[in-house]
Amino acid sequence: MRYPSRSRLSTHDPNLKENMSEKNDTESKDIQWPLWEVFTQPRDGKPHEHAGSLHAPDAEMALENARDVYARRKEAVNIWVVPSDQIVASKGEDAGPFFDPADDKPYRHPQFYSVPRASKRRS
């Protein structure tokens, strides 16, 4: 187990303060710790899925909080935590160019291909 140094832990940390005041100045009056997104893997070999979010001062605490909030009833075999501000998301105005063109291109869907009977039976 490794621990962040004193400066990383301290709530006097300039980065953390900056983070918090930034949030204060904008839309919300959120003076909580930074936000993290939690992804849990339900079983070995399954993909990690978004479980929700939580507040935590650092990565280790985010992991522990994630365990307590999202995996205390055997929901997961593995957990990822990611700082929410590290997630790059498409914007609302991207929806048109990103997703609409798919509307009139049914040929992009694989259902027009006939599936060999042998492989059907196996699945």
């Binding site: 832990l9 301290s10 006097h12 507040h55 522990e64 909080n65 365990r67 307590d68 909030v69």
Partner: protein, 261 residues
């Protein structure tokens, strides 16, 4: 009238030992449950309630086994709800009021560290059921230790206020830690049968864990040789236990025949 002195049987000793272990965990679990809805942040509120349930779960299985060993057809709830404070054998460190978050974390850390080494030994006792129980509980205890240790580091090495508060908590609780290592004829008899842990064997490991953690958290380690309270295993308690039991037991005692159905 018999002139024979009552000798302690292996059965009596095991029953008493299991009840001691269970009492520690029930009372600490109950204290911890008082944080439910009052945690410093939502995530920590859930974590503390979760750990509280782990402790109460450990106590439940230890009581269950205790009444089985006792073999008088008693239900485990009988031990929980119908014993008075002098009949409770929990260590005083577990019954102290929850204090502030720093105090709770200081106690959780000291107790979880102790439980960790204790359960490692209990996992090897020559009693399949008891050892299996210990192995199962050990997994949870490892998490309790990790959780509380991480918080000790952050509170100790955090802000000036958090540092001062948790330092005061360790100073205040210190007089109660000596009792963790109390052993008497109960443990001695069972150790001979390989049915109990011997805390003397892991005292130095526990101290090392505590010293390393407190130093890493920039905290001062109080004096291990200071006055330490004793007597818990004989039923001597602080005034706080009676209040705790009153709250925990009053419903059951008011309606002794009540049923969930």
């Amino acid at each position: 009238m018999s002139t024979e002195t009552t000798t302690l049987t292996k059965q009596d000793a095991l029953f008493e030992y299991l009840v001691r272990l269970a009492d520690d965990r029930l009372i600490l679990g109950h204290r911890l449950s008082e944080w439910c809805g009052h945690g410093p942040i939502l995530e920590e509120d859930i974590a503390l309630a979760n750990i509280s349930l782990d402790y109460i779960g450990h106590a439940a299985s230890l009581y269950e086994y205790a009444v089985e060993v006792e073999d008088k057809g008693r239900h485990r709830d009988n031990l929980v709800y119908f014993r008075n404070d002098v009949e409770y054998k929990n260590l005083k460190i577990t019954e102290l009021p929850k204090g502030d978050f720093g105090f709770t974390i200081a106690r959780q850390f000291l107790f979880a560290g102790f439980s960790y080494f204790l359960y490692k030994q209990l996992s090897d006792v020559e009693d399949e059921q008891f050892a299996g129980m210990a192995q199962k509980h050990l997994k949870e205890v490892k998490y309790h230790l990790r959780h509380s240790r991480e918080w000790v580091l952050r509170l100790g090495d955090g802000t000036d206020e958090s540092h001062e508060r948790i330092q005061n908590s360790f100073n205040d609780i210190w007089t109660y830690v000596g009792e963790l290592f109390h052993q008497d004829e109960i443990e001695e008899l069972l150790q001979g049968e390989k049915l109990a842990a011997d805390s003397e064997n892991f005292k130095s490991d526990w101290k090392e864990l505590v010293v390393d953690t407190l130093e890493e958290a920039t905290l001062e380690v109080p004096d291990f040789d200071q006055f330490m309270v004793e007597g818990s295993r004989d039923g001597l308690h602080t005034e706080h236990l009676g209040h705790l039991l009153a709250e925990m037991q009053h419903l059951r005692r008011s309606y002794p025949d009540a049923d969930w159905e």
